[in-house]
């Protein structure tokens, strides 16, 4: 894909919301019918069907515009899978837990604190933040360090646009993102892991300023469900998913590389850069192949692309760097 090339997904391939919901209710019905048939309709699934609070997570429709930076030629992962297969450890380490538990996240009211090496610290209210620039539809491949992948139609605008509003000083070399953390709200993260919260991630300034790096407010044309990082998150499509911090409360401009959560946990496994790279294996598994989510098990295996397929756009950021050392 080249920057500037118009999206070549025929509009007929993009699922309309109405069709999508028809699909969803049909799928839910089939699922529950199958489960009931087996005599094993789980309480969790029952709650999902009947509890309106679970359905309220689905979000509100957003006004969006097209973007030349969208990824083309990929089949979108279903809304159901994007919202029910999440790594959001604050709400539980099992991938099905965030969808059940993230309702506890107080996504409104919300504000983002900007601090550190900036002209002056600022606070952005979420509603003002969403109106700062037109919201764009951006389809991106999403590659998790655990070797699974999705294709997600995000909604947001370039992080660079937000950074301009933050007025960082020239001494700001990196930008750090801190996620929401409240032990009383997110007790799962404290109970199931030994991670020192809040979740911290970071980018080098030139990475953060790259137009593909997205300040994200929605997916499938609607506001983010809580389990996907509501109300605002980062999406960096050429890096492993954990680099894309969710539910951001603090953006801090710093003069040296910030500490990042997974790097703190195991620096030999999760590098600061963590660019998608099929040539550098994770110590515990190969990164050459990935499993595409939502396909039958015999069709899931796919070759992983350098920079997750965004080489043409981002490779220049790392010119002269040894990506084996700076993994």
């Amino acid at each position: 894909m080249l920057i500037g090339k118009p999206p070549d997904i025929p509009s007929s391939e993009i699922t309309s919301r109405a069709a999508y919901f028809r699909y969803l209710s049909r799928r839910r019905f089939l699922k529950s019918a199958a489960a009931a048939g087996a005599g094993a309709l789980g309480a969790g699934r029952l709650a999902e069907i009947f509890d309106p609070a679970t359905r309220a997570l689905a979000g509100t429709k957003l006004e969006t515009v097209k973007s030349p930076l969208t990824t083309t030629g990929e089949t979108l992962t279903s809304y159901d899978d994007i919202t029910h297969y999440n790594n959001f450890y604050e709400f539980g380490v099992d991938k099905s837990e965030p969808a059940k538990n993230a309702g506890a996240l107080p996504a409104r009211p919300w504000s983002v604190q900007v601090e550190g090496h900036v002209k002056r610290p600022k606070t952005f209210d979420i509603d003002a933040l969403m109106k700062l620039r037109p919201l764009e539809d951006r389809v991106y491949r999403h590659r998790c360090v655990e070797a699974w992948s999705m294709v997600i139609p995000w909604v947001g605008y370039s992080l660079a646009e937000f950074i301009k509003e933050c007025e960082p000083l020239s001494s700001a070399k990196y930008v750090q993102f801190l996620s929401y953390w409240d032990r009383r709200v997110e007790h799962w993260g404290a109970e199931q892991t030994s991670i020192s919260w809040p979740y911290s991630e970071g980018l080098r300034m030139d990475e953060a300023m790259h137009p593909l790096a997205l300040l994200t407010f929605g997916l499938y044309g609607e506001t983010l469900p809580n389990q996907d990082g509501a109300p605002v998150r980062i999406v960096v499509p050429w890096k492993y998913g954990f680099k894309s911090a969710k539910s951001i409360v603090t953006v801090r401009f710093v003069d040296r590389q910030p500490h990042t959560t997974w790097n703190d946990q195991a620096s030999n496994e999760y590098g600061f850069y963590s660019n998608v790279n099929p040539h550098v294996d994770h110590p515990r598994w190969s990164q050459k192949v990935e499993r595409r989510i939502g396909l039958p098990f015999w069709e899931q295996r796919k070759q992983t692309l350098m920079f997750n397929g965004y080489t043409d756009q981002v490779a220049y950021l790392y010119q002269g760097m040894d990506l084996r050392k700076n993994f």
Partner: protein
Amino acid sequence: MKRSILILLKTATWVACLWPLGKLAWEAAANTLGPDPTATITFTTGATTLNLLTIGLALTPARKLIPRLGWLVKFRRLAGLFAFFYATLHLTAYVALYAGFSAGAMAADLARRRFIVMGLAGWLLLLPLAATSTRWAIRTLGGKRWNQLHRLVYAAAVCGVIHYWWQVKPGVLTPLTITVLLGLLLAARPVLGWAEHRKMRMRGAAAD
């Protein structure tokens, strides 16, 4: 125990042991294995292996603590063989779905990834136990040697648990429950052995 009750219990055990596989097959057919079917299949078969090993290792301490439960020994082989069965399915899932039958990919994994090595070691330790599970093998080996050989199951269980810990991300505590359970069951053996030894000595002393 009455023969009819034994047959009933054995049938129930077979059904219970085949349940996880049946559920996987049903969900594969209905396309409800979840967003990542490969991971579901691999996790389910691996976790079932560890669960069955744990149940199998609980039978002997239970018998020793409660002598009335002596008949539990009749279920040990079934638990062990089903543990091996699920371990084999787990290994097959890796070979087919993760390595894509590529010998090169598997060799690279074995050279670089200790959790793969540990998992394979566990399976290799279970292999001779499954192979010598027949009455004929017990007779040929002799009870004492057969018993010694089958102590390998302790090592296999330890390999399985380490394999689990090395597979999850550092800081994730999901393997904790099964580790504590298996740890208690393994520790119970020397403790119960010591208690038995003491009881016999006391009895011996009383007879003097």
